[in-house]
Subunit: 471 residues, 2 copies
Amino acid sequence: MLNPADDTFLNTLKEKLPEHLFRPLAPSYLEEPRGRYVGQAGAIIAPENTDQVAEVVRLCNEARVGIVPYAGGTGLVGGQLQPDGPAPVLLSLERMTAVRDVFPTENVLVVEAGAILTDVQAAAEEVDRLFPLSLASEGSARIGGLLSTNAGGVNVLRYGNARELCLGIEAVLPNGEIMNTLTRLRKDNTGYDLRDLLIGAEGTLGIITAAALKLHPRPAGEGTALLTVKDPTAALALLALTGKHMAGGVSAFELMHRRAFEFFEETDIPITCPFDETPEWVVLLEIGLPKGIDPQSALEALFEDALEAGLVDDGIVAQSEAQRLAFWAMREEIPTANRRIGSISSHDISVPISSIPDFIEEGGKRLAALGPIRVNCFGHLGDGNLHYNVFPPEGRDRAEFDGIRDQVKRIVHDLVHEMSGSCSAEHGIGRLKVGDLERYGDPAKLNMMRAIKTAVDPHGIMNPGAVLRAD
Amino acid sequence: MLNPADDTFLNTLKEKLPEHLFRPLAPSYLEEPRGRYVGQAGAIIAPENTDQVAEVVRLCNEARVGIVPYAGGTGLVGGQLQPDGPAPVLLSLERMTAVRDVFPTENVLVVEAGAILTDVQAAAEEVDRLFPLSLASEGSARIGGLLSTNAGGVNVLRYGNARELCLGIEAVLPNGEIMNTLTRLRKDNTGYDLRDLLIGAEGTLGIITAAALKLHPRPAGEGTALLTVKDPTAALALLALTGKHMAGGVSAFELMHRRAFEFFEETDIPITCPFDETPEWVVLLEIGLPKGIDPQSALEALFEDALEAGLVDDGIVAQSEAQRLAFWAMREEIPTANRRIGSISSHDISVPISSIPDFIEEGGKRLAALGPIRVNCFGHLGDGNLHYNVFPPEGRDRAEFDGIRDQVKRIVHDLVHEMSGSCSAEHGIGRLKVGDLERYGDPAKLNMMRAIKTAVDPHGIMNPGAVLRAD
């Protein structure tokens, strides 16, 4: 149904748009971090402003040429590249990086979609505010992509996903119209919530070009602790106790398994467990508190209560920024170790929080039936979001396990589905999980999604084949 | 285009549904709090379960008969009744009031759409959790209506609107399909966010039948204070300072004008100002804090800092629950006083928070040009949401001002629009503000809303004439 972005079409584009917007067809735009897909494009265009984005979309819509929106290129599910079909226009937001405005009194920052997350965090810090979105790829991920995938990260427990951090958006719709709903309002009930519809739509309903983002006051004091727990059930009870103590002041509650420390050793990552004996499970906990209370004391009080309740066995409260960073390095180096080992299959799943212990137990059992494998399970316990990754036994290569990859994935996702969970907690559907969405998604929801896609983008030009199968 | 719910259609319904679901055509279903509209209906049905809701919707869709969903009937914009056009079926959720499940560890409660807000708050309290949605009509407002209008209230600053308090919904779509997305997940990026699309759609895209609601830990300690400020600019600076002190622990930040106290006296409401001299402006502030810090001391520390910065003139920290309730009574009795005086026109508006001082000043000026009127302006300063109500001078009746009502409304809404604000901050569009949405709404957004409405509800049966004009 779509036409390729061929030379004729390129000439049309070049008549309407300045020459310097066109970028060479560099391979870096057509790769993704895990190397599963290689993209293709008939043209790569990097507009300087929203009107130019609208012009590109209008021309593509008229000519029935597909558009793949491109932000930081860090997505893990292939949403940012199109491996087959008629060659699309790749529209990169790299030139639209301005912080348009900062409103400290309002706790609002207005930014273009190409702004890099660390730059946005820095702009907030300059006015003594916090933009709490934080994740591994923050040095290259761009706001447009983070919103389009409703990114998560480590602070969701307290501050919400990307969606909850956005007050308003400006977007170019598939017909080329500019939707100017860049509101800074905290309350605005005038019509359907199209902001949240475009957020998480992975560029299939339009292109987000700017956003009004919610900032937060910086907590007066912060504290970090590592606590050892005997099992995930104890970790959950600790989570509830922490909530009771901190009154919403818990910003991160991350679970790590002893496997992580084994992997560090196996892959020569110089991180050692700070406890005398490597515990079965560790919780990394971070809090941000009001004035008038010392976070260290608050964490010690929590630790004592947790010890008394039999929930924790040992614990360390970070006494310095260096120690805090060392704790976080443990958590953040897990993906590095995982990559070095080489996973058979990785899963970004969520289940209802109270089902986590059952999920871990039952998942382990079902996978063990396939033969000897290792699981490294870690993640955002406070959000019910685990990165549940499956590896070969020590000394064996993942290539030997190519034959069971699909089976592993199916076992994990089936179990997630049985437990009313999600097979894409924070990474999105992209192109990787289109089949999973069809298999596990609610049929009425899928029908409504398709009806909306057809109504809003009748020619199917926006990110063809992402989220929903292209016709 | 629609057919009335006439006797023939009633017979069809009665063939498929138990007799006792049909309710008499009682006038109470066809009235609304402000008495602006009188509704009509060919039948009133109160299903007992989601399947029955689906059956009604399916039959209405087949027969092209309109449906008006009815929850607590407390809406202020006429979304819950249809004054003209072919008589619709009124579908009341009053029998679907079950709390289906409570998950304290997850901070989740699953409830049917007919549950009354105070009952939901109580169910949360039973497991030592907080469901923070709180507003004047909480004793009769039902969850389905609160979600369908994305209700706000006094705790939005800390906990968000109804939308932010909902994890998943079950809904009947206009074609009669049941969308089962009653997820309890904190992170779930599988497809378009249809939850947030139905939330706030005021029943025009489907009927929410159940919801998984987010609970919060109860703060370890709470405190309340009344602080006097010389003007809204000082109130804003106080808001920022409070954020800095409390690290997200501010649950309410309400602004009141001295006019409120004048109105209490004029209408014989036995509330007196607790300060020696009635201040120009008062801020009512509530905080909820972690363990290890005394809220009274925290408020006193804030007060001292605010005094030193010249932001406040006087203040009282509540020393008892009785005093706290007395402070809140001041805030909550303002609407009573307003009703007794009788407004020329009321406005539920929001502007970017930092524009509030300008809005109040400029609004006062523009209205003064019409002749002698009085404004009582109060509300959720922390959300940029003011209830900006216009009254006759003392001793005169609002009926004398009927001739300028439209002009007043237009002046206020034009100013709001100039300041990038919203003419419906928390009450919704209903039928009252359809014209305002058309006038002030972003055209591209309106086009996309219409495209979605047509795609999802091609026959226009769902709450005809609400939000979008019926064909």
